[in-house]
């Protein structure tokens, strides 16, 4: 592949800046949105070894996610250095912007019940409209793993009491139940 140029990065900026800013803002508010420039500074720094064009969008989201994580680490380090350092098994703090009340609040509650990587998979595919393969790149997962995790996360969300009203109301026949159970007995493998 011929080396990319600054013009390529500028084109990426024109095409993806708005959606990346949306992603950053939704995860960390204005402080997150302020990282947009850093995403493209990294892209310019790596202009000689950008990935293939068809995965550059996912690469940009992945870079944005890493910057968010780094900023989060830096914040935590600044405020709670010793305590955070000593604690094992911690998860990344979710600093995403609250979604409001009513149904949005219910959805946020349901999303909050998921583990961080699964929640992020849902948000990347629904909010940012990334494909599963792109979301897998962002999260550093195998595409097959991402598919299985997304499938399970959707099942968990659909079963969450806050979203119960959204499930189709019907009374499945015994035969339907058997059929549905057998189709769910083994999640799809990637």
């Amino acid at each position: 592949m011929p080396a990319s140029s600054r013009v390529d990065v500028e084109e990426l900026y024109r095409r993806h800046a708005a959606e990346l800013r949306g992603y950053l803002y939704r995860r960390a508010g204005q402080a997150g949105a302020d990282l947009l420039g850093d995403v493209f500074v990294v892209a310019l720094q790596r202009v000689d070894d950008l990935p293939e064009p068809d995965v550059r969008r996912a690469w940009l989201f992945g870079t944005a996610r890493r910057l968010l994580l780094a900023a989060d680490r830096e914040n935590r380090r600044r405020h709670q250095a010793e305590r955070e350092r000593a604690r094992f098994g911690e998860t990344v703090a979710d600093t995403s912007v609250a979604g409001g009340s009513g149904q949005a609040g219910a959805v946020q509650a349901a999303l909050a019940s998921l583990r961080e990587p699964d929640r992020e998979l849902i948000r990347l595919t629904e909010w940012e409209r990334l494909s599963i393969t792109e979301a897998a790149v962002v999260l550093g997962l195998r595409p097959g793993t991402a598919r299985v995790r997304l499938h399970r996360a959707r099942r968990t969300l659909a079963a969450h009491p806050a979203l119960a009203d959204l499930s189709p109301v019907r009374s499945p026949s015994r035969a339907e139940v058997g059929s549905q159970r057998s189709s769910l007995s083994r999640p799809p493998q990637g």
Binding site: S96, A104, Q108, R123, R154, R155, A159
Partner: protein, 252 residues
């Protein structure tokens, strides 16, 4: 989670509800967008000048120890963080998931430390020893390893942690320290849920990287140090010095 009829009721209505719950984002005006791009370009030009200066400095260095000084001074220019991930599924398969790190960067040791903080070791000394070994392995021949995935690094570090815990477990078993033995066993038996392992090897079967973990788990359950040694040694999962209780020596 056990499958139920309810579980599969994911519908377009759920997707719509999730999307509608996305927080609103203030508009980015065209003027702001143009101004930001100008700042990005200016910032990169500034960094490029500093990078040139850094190259000149490094070219003049003879003592390896001084590289650390130069690295510390220019850490924001040449970082182990490349921002690059795998380009396709094959790349993931061959190199592991996650960001491609550059072991030649002066901040590689710090990045490695940061990226493995969630991996639980029985002691700080064991962790330091494992990370020192990986650092030495990655940087010994600088022309050899130019890219290392964060997934692989985390997976290997998890292997060292399990090796360390196996050593604690075997020592406690030998001396009859039931509390320590149980604590170490609990950690090892819970390891299959560690993201550092599951992100790269969710299956732990066949020829995968951590296919030996079920054997180690079985050894722990049956209080069989010899079997634990076989599980770890046969797969070269212990670096020198981490498991003397299991008489595991050099890796190669």
């Amino acid at each position: 989670m056990a499958p139920t009829v309810r579980d599969q009721d994911w519908s377009e209505r759920h997707g719509d509800a999730i999307r509608e719950a996305a927080p609103a984002v203030p508009d980015l005006t065209e003027g702001e967008k143009i101004a930001l791009w100008q700042r990005i370009e200016a910032s990169d030009t500034h960094r490029a000048r500093r990078r040139t200066h850094w190259k000149a400095v490094v070219a003049g260095l003879v003592a390896v120890g001084l590289v650390g000084v130069a690295g510390a001074a220019t850490g924001n220019v040449f970082s182990a963080h490349t921002g690059r991930g795998p380009v396709d599924a094959e790349d993931v398969e061959l190199g592991g998931p996650g960001e491609r790190l550059d072991p030649r960067a002066p901040d590689f040791a710090g990045v490695m430390d940061e990226m493995t903080t969630d991996i639980r070791f029985p002691s700080v000394a064991a962790r330091d020893s494992a990370l020192d070994w990986e650092l030495d392995n990655a940087t010994r021949d600088r022309s050899d390893i130019t890219s290392l995935s964060s997934g692989a690094l985390r997976l290997w570090t998890a292997g060292h942690a399990l090796c360390s815990w196996s050593n604690v477990w075997a020592g406690a078993l030998r001396t009859g320290d039931i509390a320590t033995e149980q604590r170490a066993a609990d950690v090892i038996l819970g390891a299959r849920t560690w993201p550092s392992i599951t992100d790269t090897d969710p299956d732990m079967a066949d020829e995968s990287e951590f296919a030996w973990l079920p054997d180690l788990e079985q050894a722990i359950r049956t209080d069989d140090p010899a079997a634990a040694r076989t599980a770890l040694a046969g797969n070269q999962s212990c670096m020198p010095g981490l498991a003397p209780e299991l008489r595991l020596g050099k890796r190669r």
